[in-house]
Amino acid sequence: MSRVLQIAVFGAMTVAVPAAITYAHHSGTMFDDKKQVTVEGVVKEFQYTNPHSWLLVDVTNPDGTVTTWGFEAEGPNTLLQAKIRRSDFAPGTKLTISGFPMRDGRPAAAWTKAVRADGVEFYPRGRNPGIQ
């Protein structure tokens, strides 16, 4: 059964300085980098497009309905440098995926991490990203 893990994280002191996400086409201010949303689901489509890519994931809600979430990343050349190929997320791939959620509550996020059912991890923005 798919499930949604909504992890609210708030500011805390730490010595780690994140690598800021680079948004060249547009600002990333629509995403809330003080929160993380994590969902489990199945890949619907990997829109491997410029200047931003979208990994669409079908998530089954507690009531049995399905919500399609969109996880945004940079374009193909940036994803390739992060070792993420289009074929890594074929439709039907089961995964757990995380990101900075939209501030307005729509089911979308700036993609930060994905773990496929086979345990392989993907970090499209490095292991410690922040919004820029």
Partner: protein
């Protein structure tokens, strides 16, 4: 099943990250070198004078040099940090801004602190233009030929052409504003020296001041090791700077062993999920997403 859990993050440190790419970059240049090159620019009243001084020092420089004398800048490159248009350089010295530019910087910082940012150029698939071109991310490719050098970037598919065939700029009477200006240059050994004029009045970046048509620049480009190209840039624009401003940018070669990375054409309208608009507050927001067939007819917010 849904659950909410408290967590630990670095969010408290993100506030200052809500600024342009330019201001985030860490200076890598030694302070003494930065100071020397900054002060060198102060000796010349105009970019043309600085360019001519460099040309004189290079004994006229070379135009149309044979291929055998040109450097190898092949491969793919990406920006690797360096100075900013408005932030202090490595020596701790900032640009002497005009009152108008200083006010624009202050306003931009206030907006950034509120998380408000919209890109009047790139969000609508417009070109970054020059000198913003120096600091934009993503892949670059440099094509060096005797008569001209192409400095290209995949961001909105741009190419700067640097003519090294001996031509000058168009006459002032025939000049007209261009996003990337008009660039001529010469070779000083393995170093490319560039003079750029005919630039367009427009924003230098998100929450940054506006450059004017009076802006002119001088750059020197040189490969300092197998994986690094350094560009020194002196910017003259009386609308922004009361004195010429100097910054250095670095470009690193991108590993591409499997040859999958390629310069590709991209357009912001390629995927409707990437469409953004400017909110009444001046911020950036996505239009309605098209994640499912039922999303096919969105109620788009007004432009």
């Amino acid at each position: 099943m849904m659950r909410v859990a408290s967590g630990f993050c670095v969010a408290a440190l993100f506030a200052s990250a809500l600024v342009g790419v330019e201001a985030q970059d860490r200076p890598q240049q030694p302070a003494a070198e930065w100071r020397q090159k900054h002060d060198f620019g102060l000796k010349y009243r105009t970019a043309s004078e600085l360019y001519q001084a460099l040309r004189t020092a290079a004994r006229g420089g070379k135009q149309n040099p044979p291929f055998s004398e040109l450097p190898d800048w092949s491969g793919l490159w990406t920006q690797a940090g360096g100075g900013s248009f408005v932030a202090p350089g490595p020596a701790g010295i900032g640009p002497t801004l005009t009152p108008k530019a200083a006010a624009a910087v202050k306003e931009g910082q206030a907006l950034a602190a509120q998380g408000i940012s919209y890109d009047e150029n790139l969000s609508e698939c417009g070109p970054p233009g020059f000198p913003r071109w120096l600091v934009i991310p993503f892949l670059r490719e440099f094509i060096v030929r005797p008569e001209q050098t192409w400095l290209s970037s995949e961001t909105v598919n741009n190419v700067r052409r640097i003519y090294t065939d001996g031509r000058g700029h168009p006459s002032p009477q025939d000049a007209y504003p261009l996003y990337y200006g008009d660039s001529i240059g010469f070779w000083d050994g393995q170093k490319l020296v560039i003079h750029t004029s005919q630039l367009m009045a427009r924003s230098m970046g998100r929450n940054q001041p506006e450059q004017s048509e009076q802006m002119e620049t001088v750059e020197t480009w040189e490969k300092i090791d197998a994986r690094t190209i350094v560009a020194d840039a002196w910017i003259y624009d009386p609308a922004i700077y009361q004195q010429p401003w100097y910054l250095q940018r670095r470009y690193s070669q991108v590993a591409n062993e499997d040859k999958l990375l390629r310069m590709n054409y991209w357009h912001c309208g390629e995927n409707p999920n990437n469409e953004v608009y400017k909110t009444p507050e001046g911020n950036t927001q996505y239009r309605d997403f098209r994640f499912t067939p039922s999303d096919a007819a969105p109620q788009a917010p007004p432009r």
